[in-house]
């Protein structure tokens, strides 16, 4: 379970995240949607303990990440939007290191590393430096790193970027199985179709605030848009360009 209470982040006069209240129950796959610059990544980085909130609290499994960061992080697997890994470590070494950060080692972890690499079809590259990996391979390695210590909660920022269709499908199935077994996933995505088909609940953020939240049916009801698909609903809430404006831009 993840609980955000009045979560706020300000950079000088600019408010990136503006008093977000949200509860993501255990055993749910939760979609976090919003246009670029809405505050999604900032929110995720605060949940992961990378950014300090200006005010408000974040709880992971009932543990406050600001006051008891180590215990809260122990339950968390974070997958960032950009796959930066150590260039001079091999894939195997990176996963061993990621597990060690959570205090885990030994034969069980070695088996787990092999399983994960096998699942993501990276076994062939286990002993090669990650500087030779493609963007998609790095993304898969980072996802493996977030899973290696068997977290209770996964926070994942734009997981599908850079993945081939087969890996994307694998990831969707993986997250579904993870929540079916009692895990929690908070995922941001721009692929609305993914959110619509995968997520139990969604929240749409705009200007640092949640503008709609609930199951798809609940969000449609809240916004009186019963007949709209998620894409139209999203554009309605976040302000897409009108046809007239598009014409003006294209005609120059």
């Amino acid at each position: 379970m993840i609980r955000l209470v009045q979560l706020t982040k300000r950079y000088g006069k600019f408010t990136a995240v503006d008093g977000i209240d949200l509860v993501i129950p255990t055993g749910e796959l939760f979609g976090f949607l919003g246009p670029n610059g809405a505050g999604k990544t900032t929110t995720f980085r605060m949940i992961a303990g990378i950014l300090q909130p200006t005010s408000g609290t974040v709880e992971i499994g009932g543990i406050d990440i600001i006051h008891r960061p180590l215990e809260a992080k122990q339950r968390l697997g974070f997958i960032p939007d950009r796959p930066f890994v150590y260039d001079k470590l091999t894939g195997g070494e990176f996963l061993r290191f990621a597990a060690a950060l959570y205090g885990q080692e030994g034969p069980a972890i070695e088996r787990r590393i092999d399983e994960l690499l096998e699942m993501f079809e990276l076994s062939r590259w286990k002993d090669e430096l990650t500087e030779t990996y493609s963007h998609g391979m790095r993304q898969k390695l980072i996802i493996s790193g977030a899973l290696v210590h068997r977290p209770e909660v996964i926070v994942v920022d734009e997981p599908m970027v850079g993945l081939d269709p087969k890996s994307a499908r694998l990831l969707k199935d993986l997250f579904r199985h993870f929540v079916d077994r009692g895990g929690t996933v908070l995922m941001s995505t721009h692929t609305l179709e993914v959110a619509e088909t995968m997520c139990d609940q969604i929240a749409i953020v705009h200007g640092g605030k949640i503008v709609a939240h609930g199951t798809m049916a609940e969000v449609r009801e809240q916004t009186s848009s019963e007949d709209l698909g998620l894409e139209d609903l999203f554009l309605k809430l976040t302000g897409g360009l009108r046809d007239q404006q598009l014409d003006t831009i294209l005609e120059g």
Binding site: T90, A100, G103, E105
Partner: protein, 567 residues
């Protein structure tokens, strides 16, 4: 649309993102921490004052010596500028690889319809600024001292600037050209590694030459047959084909009112020609090189670092152990990092060779005062070497975590444990090095038990503090975006660290010099009687307290900074 009809952006426009970013960074720094800016200003002022003070005293002395004095002043300026020139060349070679081939803005610039010469000039300007600012900062107090001692007049700053600008441009053009050729021969990732080795090799040769040519002979006129021979050596330019000589000549000609236009003609004639030739080479080779630079190098690891090292660290919890192993792996696999060990080895050999060749125990009677002075100078030199080593290996520790910090920060690894690991991974080898050089050089100097104890105690305390300072300044001024580990210590934060640690070293030596020398005199001659033991205890306590403060306070600051770091 024809090529000619495409309007090209001005050089200023192309450089706008760079200077605007620099200004924004400066504004952020200033608004964030007033205390840090004040500390920086203070340390910077102290360091400049020290360089200026030394240069001023030396030049005043030269000025007082008829005929030879002016020649010596010119010669010294030539030697300083020659040393700077070799630094500039190396720095430009390394920087050009980042600015011309690995920078993040290159995709954007190359995809745009920008003329190649325009791209060359803007990237050359960027390279010059990045690689030369530190030399320019160091040169400023030296040039100022020349201007004041030799009464250069109100136009002197303009003359000095006119002599210095082409001097900075030429090594940049040559360094860039070398990089361009190398990238065309090797893929960029390999080239970067090759450059690390090449830079090290060049410095090794330069140091060896400097050592074995023995420039200190110039300071010993008695070694020459007669005064005419000595004057002849002083008058002969050391390296007449190098811009360092032309710059020194232009400045000295102005200061001594000598009407010789040749240095100006050479500087302002050769520099533009060099830029033009560099532009041609760029036009010819750049595109092929850039394309090649995008090719990655496939590499398998032959010897993964486990077994004995992991066994040795078995007593540590798994998170700390794997963190240390990770740092060691990254260090030994990154040629820009480990190759600096070769440089360190050469520096050490030159240093020990110098100490050994001192004529203190060659049979001639050397004044006691001089022996004591040398002992303290040795302490200072050892401290300087350790500071430089810490700048190379400990200062970049936080920066090298860089863009991977998300992993550390989102994991339950305590920031304190991370700092702890980084501090000891750097400090333990540094302590071993400190003890080896201190004990060995004091043995070479035939130091007594007391002096040996003072030196060992001081250097151990200083090493602990210098490591802490290096780690802390590395955290305060991180370089997360850097493409090359060897560039991190030459950043602004690296300079501030060096100035701070050297100020601490100077303070420690100054505090203990008097009482220790008094005690040595008593041991040697039995006079003058006094309460030296009490003084020594007091001074020892001050040194311990200062070093402890310089270790604990910076580490606490670093911890706070790392905990609050946001990216």
């Amino acid at each position: 649309m024809t090529t000619a009809s495409i309007v090209q952006p001005s050089l200023w426009t192309m450089l706008t993102p760079r200077w605007r970013s620099a200004l924004a960074r400066l504004r952020q720094e200033q608004s964030g921490a007033g205390g840090r800016v004040l500390l920086l200003a203070l340390v910077g002022f102290m360091f400049w004052a020290a360089v200026f003070g030394i240069a001023y005293r030396v030049l005043r002395y030269f000025r007082g010596v008829a005929e030879i004095g002016n020649l010596m002043a010119g010669k010294v300026l030539g030697v300083i500028l020659l040393a700077f020139l070799s630094l500039l060349l190396l720095s430009n070679i390394i920087t050009a690889l980042s600015t011309f081939f690995l920078a993040k803005d290159l995709d954007l610039l190359i995809a745009a319809p920008i003329d190649r010469s325009r791209l060359y000039l803007s990237k050359l300007a960027e390279t010059i600024v990045h690689s030369s600012w530190m030399v320019a900062l160091l040169a400023l107090p030296i040039f100022t001292a020349y201007g004041i001692v030799y009464q250069g007049g109100p136009w002197y700053p303009v003359v000095a600037l006119a002599a210095f600008i082409p001097y900075l441009v030429m090594p940049a053009v040559v360094g860039t050209a070398i990089t361009l050729i190398l990238v065309n021969v090797f893929p960029a990732r390999r080239t970067r590694e090759l450059l690390g080795l090449m830079a090290t090799g060049t410095i090794v040769i330069a140091l060896a030459m400097l050592r074995f040519l023995r420039p200190e002979q110039l300071a010993q006129p008695e070694g020459f047959r007669n005064l005419v021979d000595y004057l002849a050596v002083l008058r002969t330019p050391t390296s007449p084909l190098l811009p360092s000589e032309w710059t020194a000549a232009m400045i000295m000609n102005w200061l001594l009112h000598i009407g010789d236009p040749w240095p100006i003609v050479k500087l302002w004639g050769v520099a533009p020609v060099a830029v033009a030739l560099g532009g041609l080479l760029h036009r010819w080779l750049y595109h092929r090189g850039f394309s090649k630079a995008q090719e990655g190098a496939e590499r398998k690891i032959r010897r993964p670092l486990r077994g004995p090292v992991a066994g040795f660290l078995r007593f540590l919890p798994v998170s700390k152990r794997e963190f240390i192993l990770k740092d060691l792996r990254l260090f030994f696999r990154d040629n820009t990092q480990w190759s600096q060990l070769i440089l360190l080895a050469v520096l050490l050999i030159v240093y020990l060779f110098n100490i050994k060749s001192l004529p203190l125990h060659s049979g001639e009677r050397v004044p006691f005062r001089l022996v004591t002075l040398i002992s303290f100078l040795n302490l200072g030199l050892a401290g300087f070497v350790l500071s430089a080593v810490a700048a190379r290996f400990i200062f970049p520790a936080i920066s090298l975590e860089g863009r991977q910090m998300w992993l550390i920060r989102s994991s339950p690894l305590d920031p304190q444990a991370m700092l702890w690991s980084k501090y000891w991974v750097g400090t333990v080898p540094l302590l071993v090095l400190a003890l080896v050089i201190t004990v060995f050089t004091n043995w070479l100097l035939h130091a007594g038990v007391f002096m040996m104890a003072v030196a060992v105690g001081t250097i151990v305390l200083y090493t602990l503090a210098a490591s802490a300072l290096a780690l802390s300044f590395g955290a305060l001024y991180p370089q997360f975006g850097t493409e090359n580990a060897a560039q991190i210590p030459t950043s602004f934060g690296g300079l501030v660290y060096m100035m701070s640690s050297l100020s601490l070293l100077a303070a420690i030596i100054m505090v203990q010099a008097g009482p220790v020398a008094a005690r040595l005199r008593i041991d040697q001659f039995g006079y003058p009687p006094g309460h030296t033991t009490a003084e020594l205890v007091a001074v020892g306590s001050i040194v311990v307290a200062t070093c402890a403060a310089a270790t604990i306070i910076p580490l606490r600051m670093a911890l706070r900074t790392v905990e609050r770091m946001e990216w």
